[in-house]
Amino acid sequence: MASVTHDHHAHDEHEHHHEEGFISKYIFSQDHKMIGKQFLITAVFMGLVAMLLSILFRIQLAWPGEESEFLHFFLGDKWAPKGVLDSEMYLGLVTIHGTIMVFFLLTGGLSGTFSNILIPLQLGARDMASGFLNMLSYWFFFLSSLIMFLSLFVMNGAIFGIDIPGEWGTSGNGPAMAGWTVYPPLSALPQAVSGSGFGMTLWLISMAIFIAGSLIGSLNYIVTVLNLRTAGMTMTRMPLTIWAFFVTAILGVLSFPVLLSAALLLIMDRLAGTSFYLSDIMVKGQMLTNHGGSPLLFQHLFWFLGHPEVYIVLLPALGLSSEIIATNARKPIFGYKAMIGSILAIGFLSFIVWGHHMFITGMNPFLGSVFVFTTLLIAIPSAVKVFNYITTLWRGSIVFTPAMLFAIALVSTFITGGVTGIILADSALDIAIHDTYFVVAHFHIVMGMSAVFGMFAGVYHWFPKMYGRMMNARMGYAHFWITLVGAYGVFFPMHFVGIAGAPRRYYDYSVYGTFDTESYGMIVDLNVVITFFAIVAALGQAIFLFNFFYSIYRGPVAPTNPWKSNTLEWTTPVEHLHGNWPGPLPVVHRWPYDYSKPGAAEDFIPQNVPLAEGEEEH
């Protein structure tokens, strides 16, 4: 089979890497395991930054206009004069919070980390198809993270006094402020809001580099899955994690370039006087001469990526949970083929639903109808997955590792967040709740809870593989329960705030005082509750961070296969080996879900164990 030749070939290539200095081992590493960890650390750092930003603006929402030393400490006199958050910076904080969480934490941190660590290990490959491109994909990610982080410090069109010479939008204060969706004309016109000057330019540069890195990474994952599976690893013997990463990578390759094109057109409207998105505009007393463009064009291009993007975020989390739930329930994942089918269906359908973000944009209502239909269709494979997870638990023998807790909670939040998606998918219902806190609740529950829980589950479960040591389980439990209760406490009340009509991206709700004091009272009360839970949940992450870093250095040394799991990554030695297996690559004889198979000696049979006499493969 082709994989035999590849193994030989790959082995030869890696002969050259045996001498690893500090720089080539830790900094410019081409080893997928190191690159995965680099993604993880960078993504976690960015996630913490974004979490801090959310606490900052949540303080404003809970106690509007009140002086806060905490705000003043982090934002200084310019953005929090007298400790009160500046109303423009409020928009900047929500924008960067959203951008970092969606792209840097949940795309870079989920796909980047786990695709890198698991794809070669679970497929029985020495490394990714191209170690060099893999390394590049990380450094692009790092560079784009750095630029996005620095954009928070823009002042008078420069960062810490350093200016880019020339006309690169060197005006303005603060980061991009048009929401993470950066719709033009607001994001195209520096006059419209301060962050649309240099801050927006940096946002665009950062995203362009991020997209390039993401594409390089995705191509690598696809090629590795198609070409570097070890002998016996047919597509239908691959773990569901790999299926998820594979389809995710395809989604990325097909949709990120469209966002890049949207960004390029926006750059041109900003710098080159074009009118892709602009027409008939009078802004801050200035009559612009742009003509013929349409802001809706940007929205179509943006959401063409934007929707697959949320599945790029979610599918890896679902894939990781499939593995974790099956392993810890000591049962095969129920309906393996149906799960593959669902992943493929979700992947395909995700390309034809983007318009549900645009029901009330002024686009043709008939187009809206089409998107209602396709969006509600996507609920079907999602429902199938949920039922399969639940059935996997049924009559299982469940071990509650912290990873398992997070995986089960992922299914719960996927249900909770998913069902409100059904309401939002119905365009007639969307009219009254679009851009309210109902939407904020929906996407935070599926992304801020489900996908983040998937990431936590993945870290707890594969920590022994990444660092050769075990994390502390009791701390993991504490972290889990605080996070679950805290996060539900943050996002569940938001549904009610949204149904009451409270718009999102509002600095405060004082306007309610002029027309409905009863609702105003409710919004104020709930905002305090939400912020309280947000602070509790944020503080709870300290336990995780402590556990994570402590265990890297002082955790108990891990056994080879601590979770008694079937997949191939647990057959490699605990000490990292460049090339993963010391001898020949494992040969696969069975699917990865032979847990508690009747007639077997142990309650798990790894994939590389040959079939016993008279044993039939599932």
């Binding site: 802001p295 809706l296 009330i360 199938v384 638990l393 249900i415 209760v485 306007v511």
Partner: protein, 389 residues
């Protein structure tokens, strides 16, 4: 300072606890990574407890806040939407309870019992069929009802609908009624001046705009004067800004002259009778409205929560929606038992620093009161304000 101290001490305490745990598990000669049965059972019980907390919390929140703020729908279209929403909420609440129950109950019940193996149950095609077909059927119903409602809401308004335009800009709204002929006059952003804030198109407004752009305060002549003045020294950036501004204004002037040449004066009367209202949007009960929307600078969104209506306003595009108000402000106040209540139009698309304050009060009067109000208001036509000396 205190905070930092607490964090550091907390971290040290935690580290010591972990050391104790490691040492004790070494004593028990168990692999540190194996989860003790006690922990398993404890977490399984917490799963059930959490489910109760989740369900209880949900019921509590719905009881306490479910009916606050929303209020009844105050339009015909809104009532249809609310009916559909309630149906959907019942369906998803049932799904939420059923699936979460199964999930957490199974997590609790099937905790590992030493000596009891798991049941090897890899697939069952019949079950997969069942939970593919049932959701599909339910969703089909939701889709059909939803699209039927959507078509009603976005369809054309009745021929006797009152035409009102809402003009959005950073950071406020301006309403324009069609006037005596119930037709809204044409508008163009190139004609926006301080006396013609909505850019309405008439022969006189075009002329006024041409004059302003040529001879006004920052007009072409002034700028040319500055650029050609040998007695002053302009910096490079100022000179560049002037030239750019001059270029833009000359371009606009050309377009304005084209407008002037092709303008058909017959439409002016229809524009001149339009009535512009800046302080409050006043509507008539049981009257169908056809709202059109324009935006001056960036995307805004016209959100009328009580009428369950919303549409983005987009520069370069005219958007529309329709509804028929069914309850006067007075009636709604008594239903809500809130004498200070008002209907509202809020901006609902991020538009800059004033986004959260961009509102317009809306008042619905009964037929008699409205007709009385409008009879007076009708006199304040655009013609009167524009041509006033």
């Amino acid at each position: 300072m205190m905070m930092i101290l607490i964090v550091v001490i907390g971290a040290i305490a935690l580290a010591q606890l972990v050391r104790v745990y490691e040492l004790t598990s070494k004593l028990r000669q168990r692999g540190e990574h194996e989860i003790p049965n006690r922990d398993n059972v404890f977490n399984s019980k917490l799963m059930l407890l959490f489910m109760i907390f989740q369900f209880g919390g949900f019921i509590y929140l719905v009881a306490k806040y479910g009916w606050t703020g929303r209020g009844p729908a105050a339009s015909i279209e809104g009532a249809t939407t609310d009916w559909l929403l309630n149906l959907n909420l019942i369906i998803i609440t049932a799904v939420f309870f059923l699936t979460n129950f199964l999930l957490f109950y199974f997590a609790y019940k099937y905790v590992k019992k030493p000596g009891v193996p798991a049941y090897f149950y890899p697939h069952n095609n019949k079950l997969e069929m069942l939970w593919t077909v049932v959701p599909a059927a339910v969703l089909a119903v939701i889709i059909i009802l939803g699209l039927k409602t959507w078509n009603e809401l976005t369809g054309p308004s009745s021929p006797n609908a009152v035409n009102v335009e809402l003009y959005s800009k950073q950071f406020g709204w301006v309403a324009r009624y069609g006037g005596a002929d119930n037709k809204l006059g044409k508008a163009d952003y190139k004609l926006i001046t301080s006396k013609n804030k909505l850019g309405l198109v008439t022969e006189e407004t075009i002329l006024a705009s041409i004059e302003q752009i040529e001879k006004g305060e920052e007009g072409i002549h002034k700028i040319e004067g500055q650029l050609n003045n040998n007695n002053i020294v302009l910096s490079d950036s100022v000179r560049k800004a002037y030239r750019e501004s001059l270029g833009n204004k000359e371009r606009l002037l050309r377009l304005l002259r084209q407008m002037q040449a092709t303008h058909n004066k017959k439409g002016d009367a229809s524009t001149y009778d339009d009535v512009i209202v800046e302080d409050k949007l006043v509507l008539r009960k049981n009257t169908p409205y056809e709202f059109t929307f324009r935006a001056e600078d960036v995307i805004h969104s016209a959100y009328f929560p009580h009428f369950r209506a919303q549409i983005n306003t987009v520069p370069g595009l005219v958007t529309r929606l329709k509804f028929t108000p069914t309850m006067t402000t007075k009636e709604y106040r008594s239903v809500k038992n809130l004498p200070t209540f008002n209907y509202i139009l809020m901006c609902n698309k991020i538009c800059g620093s004033g986004h959260y304050q961009m509102k317009m009060l809306v008042e619905v009067l009964d037929e008699k009161e409205y007709d009385a109000w409008y009879k007076n208001k009708q006199k304040e036509t655009f013609k009167a304000s524009f041509l006033k000396k």
